[in-house]
Amino acid sequence: MTAALKVVAPGIHTTIQDLGRYGYQASGVPVSGALDAISHRLANRIVGNVDSAPTLEILFQGPTLEVMADSARIAIAGGAAEIELMGARPSSLGGWRSALLRRGQRFRVSKLGEAACCYLAVEGGFGIEPCLGSASTYARGGFGGLEGRAVQAGDLVPLVREQASERAELGLAEPPRPSREQRIRIVLGPQQDHFTEAALERLVSEDFIVSKHADRMGMRLDGPLLAHRDGYNIVSDGIATGAIQVPGSGQPILLLADHQTTGGYPKIATVISADIPVVGRRKPGDLVRFAAVNVAEAERLRCDQEAAFKALVAGLAPLKPAGGLDAARLLDANLISGVVFDET
């Protein structure tokens, strides 16, 4: 029998994603891919996968899954999300670490509360045939991922490995805990000259809230309306992920992974690439404040983020076996604080 994770309960919108489908935007095909690529990559690294391996992207509410393989090594990354083992003795395994599960074990992903999305990776990856070079699900177009749609109860999401390798479980000593207040950095343009001075000023000085109209395509932002200088129609042009387009209503729409490739509304600004995962984690009701930077700063911030990612991955360490002592960890803790805490 093929190894799989069986979907017992699907959550709200759980899809297979990877780093995106590039090379087909000239054919009108959106890039798709993980909303929060940083957490997607971390989940993969924790189980020893390459960054581009497909993961399950979990939006708003976690699924319940059952292991249908001899064993599977899984990890969850994103916000405060945790793996909760079900059964006679339920227990939480936390997040940002790998865990070895056996055939028949059921688990659910919980505590998404603070982030819109989190990522479930399995050692070896999900066995999804790429469509146009990517495993990412583009549900609107009905292709990619598992039959071009979000997972449903009863689905078997295939796994590449029949069983997990023999190795220690890894975890991040200090999981990223990005502030939900963090300002989203933007570069004005490409069409900022279509807006009034007042609109440009409001964009960077006032508060916006993610409205309930938020999905993988984009999020409408409630808050001040942004007035156009003369008219809101432009001749359609290409759209980059993170672009903030403003239709006639003046209510901005921040475009995310599944956005259409071209559009006819002026784009007042674009979120810098380093902050696109930050935006991807925001959910309806969350505060959004923008700060303007220039292109050179945006490029530098992205390089800094990549260096920080590498440092984080380098800090992946074997977990202390339950009930035992881990000498290396003990020493580390002593060197830093002089006091050893048993966190379990």
């Binding site: 009108g28 490409p190 672009a243 490739t261 810098i272 945006a298």
Partner: protein, 240 residues
């Protein structure tokens, strides 16, 4: 108009050649797209042509906007001949009333007979300006002036795939079921977007398209052949 370089943060440089829909501007956009693909500049992720600009997406870990703009400027002044492969497609369309829900209202608004609308629509060779909106959706122009109408006041929630539509100066084919506000004046039995094909969109920006009226019997025959993956519309290579 001078070429403008507009930033889309550290994700893309938009090379803008103008602010209107115009064949000469489109040729500049598609010319640069061809040169960019041939030059294969390090750090460029992909190029996305639209009516009047080329979006050049890049990886800020591998190149910078400043470096990229320099390389693009060099390409813009390049005198080497372009090798642009363009095709002319012959697309069968059934304009019979069951296949053309808006043909009558279009004729009424344009003050033309049904046959005149069909003759005008099928009598023009169109230029594929760009593909966007949904996967494979070709914006083709320019329509005969008598057929230029604003979009429908009440957009449809579901337009069936294969619908041939007009609005403003453009005509298009809906590749997938999607919402749509254009006037539906016919249906083609062919498939213009297929994830199993390479490339997935039948038409490329820069290609030419002509429509050929067919009756419902021919429509049914071509559609069943298309479903068996046993039909490919006729096309010929055009000189660059």
């Amino acid at each position: 108009m001078a070429v403008k370089f507009l930033p889309s943060a550290d994700s893309a440089v938009i090379v803008e050649f103008g602010d209107r829909i115009d064949r000469a501007i489109s040729d500049q956009v598609l010319g640069l797209a061809a040169r960019m693909r041939a030059a294969d500049i390090a750090g460029v992720v992909e190029v996305v042509p639209s009516f009047r600009s080329l979006m050049v997406q890049y990886d800020p870990l591998r190149t910078s906007s400043a470096e990229l703009i320099g390389a693009i400027q060099t390409l813009l002044t390049s005198k080497t001949a372009l090798d642009r492969k363009r095709r002319l497609w012959r697309v069968p369309v059934c304009y019979e009333s069951d296949f053309a829900p808006d043909l009558e209202s279009v004729a009424r608004q344009a003050k033309l007979a049904l046959e005149e609308v069909i003759a005008l629509h099928a009598g023009t060779r169109y230029h594929v300006y760009m593909i966007g909106f949904v996967p494979g959706y070709p914006y083709m122009g320019d329509l005969a002036e008598a057929l230029v109408l604003p979009r429908r006041a009440d957009p449809r929630i579901r337009v069936p795939p294969g619908s041939v539509a007009i609005a403003t100066t453009m005509t298009a084919i809906y590749p997938l079921e999607s919402p749509g506000g254009w006037h539906l004046i016919g249906t083609t039995p062919i498939r213009i977007f297929d994830t199993l094909a390479s490339p997935p969109a039948l038409f490329a920006p820069g290609d030419a398209v002509e429509f050929e009226p067919v009756d419902s019997a021919t429509f049914a025959r071509i559609r069943s052949a298309t479903e068996r993956r046993d039909y490919r519309p006729a096309s010929t290579e055009l000189a660059a």
